[in-house]
Subunit: 311 residues, 2 copies
Amino acid sequence: MTKKQDVMFKKMALIGIGLIGSSIARAARQKGLVTEISCSARTHDTRRTALELGVVDEAFEQAIDAVKDADLVILCTPVGTYEKLAEEIAPVLKKGALVSDVGSVKQMVVEAMEPHIPEGVDFVPGHPISGTEKSGPAAGFAELFENRWCILTPSRKSTEEAVEKLSDFWKGLGSDIEVMDPRHHDLVLAITSHIPHLVAYNIVGTADDLEEVTQSEVIKYSAGGFRDFTRLAASDPTMWRDVFLHNKEAVLEMLGRFSEDLTALQRAIRWGDGDALFQMFSRTRAIRRQIIDAGQETAEADFGRSTHIED
Amino acid sequence: MTKKQDVMFKKMALIGIGLIGSSIARAARQKGLVTEISCSARTHDTRRTALELGVVDEAFEQAIDAVKDADLVILCTPVGTYEKLAEEIAPVLKKGALVSDVGSVKQMVVEAMEPHIPEGVDFVPGHPISGTEKSGPAAGFAELFENRWCILTPSRKSTEEAVEKLSDFWKGLGSDIEVMDPRHHDLVLAITSHIPHLVAYNIVGTADDLEEVTQSEVIKYSAGGFRDFTRLAASDPTMWRDVFLHNKEAVLEMLGRFSEDLTALQRAIRWGDGDALFQMFSRTRAIRRQIIDAGQETAEADFGRSTHIED
């Protein structure tokens, strides 16, 4: 797993060094894909933590200082910051550098960044489909991307050579690669990631607002199913605000379908239509089986939580 | 964990021997709470598996044969079967026996069973808040109830002595006990368990129906959040059909609130109200923290799934 590979980029700059940024740094260093790593982060604490953990060589407050002489620049901040950052770093980007990102929406990233990318600099947006509910540089780990998909969404400015280079980089981090149209990415992620997060945030909020059921009761009896939603609902609020603001169309489209289907279930409950409920509940098992077979989930019952009993 | 305790019931009869029934059998045997265990199950395969696993001493097709001479009878079948079962077993119940169940709804259980319980037989409905997405006798394990809550919902026929006895039995299996009014139980579980399952079934169904996004894409990119819902959506369809048919009022009430809240989020997305989204996404982290502190969830990032990499 820690097999060293050939150095692909002399210097890598990470704009933002949270869960994803710091995991890229750890993995790239461990696999020997880069020689030098710089980063930028707005807060002093984050920069100090990243330096103390040894995941970067240099940490700056301003992105413009981190990207100097970098051969690979990856934006790892909430997508709402991208346009301004692209504008800021454009003048100092090294000729021949490759600029990418890890944002959860892609069409908007192309629109916000591409106009600012100077001639002679490559631009290939990307999105690793992995993460945890934790945030910050200390939460990262080198194995985060192993056996997970990374989607690249080339724009008109992306050369084939650059796509291939970025693809090799992510393969080096352990990922499988898929190349996709940015708009299609946004639709796929709306249902596989954005709606699940929205629904999770929503149900936790609904439970928190009840008067008839106390918060203490919600917490005590959460093993009945509720707790499964709290992991997603503990994700970074700024990142997710930006996702919903910037993938509006696809999210509203999928949300419309979700709500229609939920109304049908509601109606089946109201009218006591057991056959409709049974039919609906029967067809969903197969999908989980396939997700486990595809290596995207563990088959341990209850994720092994029930057997992790401490004495 | 395997400390032997005093025998509490000479013979225990389990009507139904799936995940919960077989876990009760294993735990009660391991802790030495019962001497003899009989069960009933409709299908021959289930009876054979239960006998082969050694979790029961006897297995019958008919409940009436299993409950003969039993001191403790626990219904572990979908709640829709309870009324008929109560009527069937009533004539052969031993004087002084204690009848209970593990159903996920409770007011309906009181209404369906209580009228059939004969004089001299105790009746105390119960609900262990634990389980996994797996079904069948082979899926059970003795530790399932450890550090989990078991809610008892006494009816008018429940004597204080019987409540205490059942409470001691579940404590013996490793559970913490809460005594609650059946109607309040149904409201609490509607939000902590029933709505989460309904929403999980629904989102998996919505994803399955899309034309723009293929099933293969949903599976490949499920690590973005979708997979968290598939565990609940892999639960037993018959059990869950019965839950929704028999906790209609509370589920419809909670579903109404959930949908209202979701509409508010939808509106915030449509109008680009980032502040409302941020505020909503910020208040949900604290609840997860409390669930972890209460021992009802593991704190491992991503449930430790991302670090379970196989080489």
